[in-house]
Amino acid sequence: MFNSEFKNFNEILDMSGHGIYVWSVYLVGISIIAISFLIAKKRIKTVQRKIKLNNASS
């Protein structure tokens, strides 16, 4: 079960000709999730900054 199906890095990339499909899915999917995390973190900082400005002005 824990023997790798591939002998070297090129075989991992190629995946018997299916590498372009497999890796494009993981690349696009991981990028979308990573961007979502960055947007969510940025939103929290923006909201907190606005609230602090409101607090300071009132």
């Binding site: 079960m1 824990f2 023997n3 790798s4 199906e5 591939f6 991992i12 995946m15 018997s16 000709g17 299916h18 590498g19 499909y21 497999v22 494009s24 899915v25 993981y26 696009v28 999917g29 979308i32 999730i33 979502s36 995390f37 969510a40 973190k41 939103r43 929290i44 923006t46 909201v47 907190q48 606005k50 609230i51 602090k52 409101n54 607090n55």
Partner: protein, 211 residues
């Protein structure tokens, strides 16, 4: 945990006898579509709570979960389309499973658009909840579409109640990927709901004290 599932599935799980290595997309595709449906179901429960008991937080959670649901549904559709190229010879087919999942994606966008089109946020919350409840009828249709209609999409390979038709050497990394993606989406949901609750409640004293 998600990385463990993916590394196991991508590098150590055996090659599929029919689909070759292209089946390794399953470790991203199946968890994505499972959570695409689960997030909508969660939104429907929240919508019911908002309409019946007027729970404000429930509406906030719907609004925070909808973009995440749209994102993961898009990933599910995208990964399925790419997987379709080497296995079906086409990236898109208007069959029951794929079309009902596309409707789910449109429902997520509809929920977000509807909420964004009202300046009165309480009214927006109420109408959004009604739309979510109407749209939940699509979830059993997605689930049962492969049984009710003759579709190009294969029937479910894993089952909670019965036995799975997938070999354990592929099933275990798949289950780990599902659990891992679940944790990742929960943490994204917490971040998203935190910023939305703060922005909606920004004039309340507890928010000033908290920030």
């Amino acid at each position: 945990m998600l990385m463990l599932g993916w590394i196991w599935g991508l590098l150590f799980a055996p090659q599929d006898a029919v689909q070759g290595n292209s089946y390794r997309i399953i470790f991203f595709h199946v968890p994505s579509v499972i959570f695409a449906e689960l997030i909508y179901f969660f939104m429907a429960v929240c919508a019911l709570m908002h309409i019946v008991w007027r729970v404000k937080l429930a509406a906030y959670l719907i609004k925070s979960a909808a973009p995440i649901g749209a994102m993961i549904t898009f990933i599910g559709l995208f990964s399925g389309s790419i997987w379709g190229i080497p296995t079906w010879g086409t990236w898109w087919q208007w069959d029951a499973r794929i079309t009902s999942t596309l409707i789910l994606f449109i429902m997520y966008l509809g929920v977000l658009t509807l909420h964004g089109s009202f300046s009165n946020l309480e009214k927006a919350d109420r109408l959004m909840s009604i739309l979510v409840i109407i749209g939940v009828v699509n979830i059993p249709i997605i689930k049962k579409s492969v049984d009710w209609w003759s579709t190009l999409h294969q029937p479910a390979s894993i089952s909670v109640s019965g036995s799975s038709s997938i070999d354990p050497s592929m099933l275990y990394p798949l289950l780990i990927s599902i659990i891992g993606l679940g944790f990742m989406l929960i943490s994204l949901g917490i971040l998203s709901s935190r910023s939305y609750i703060l922005s909606r409640e920004k004039n309340k004293k507890w928010v000033s004290d908290y920030v």
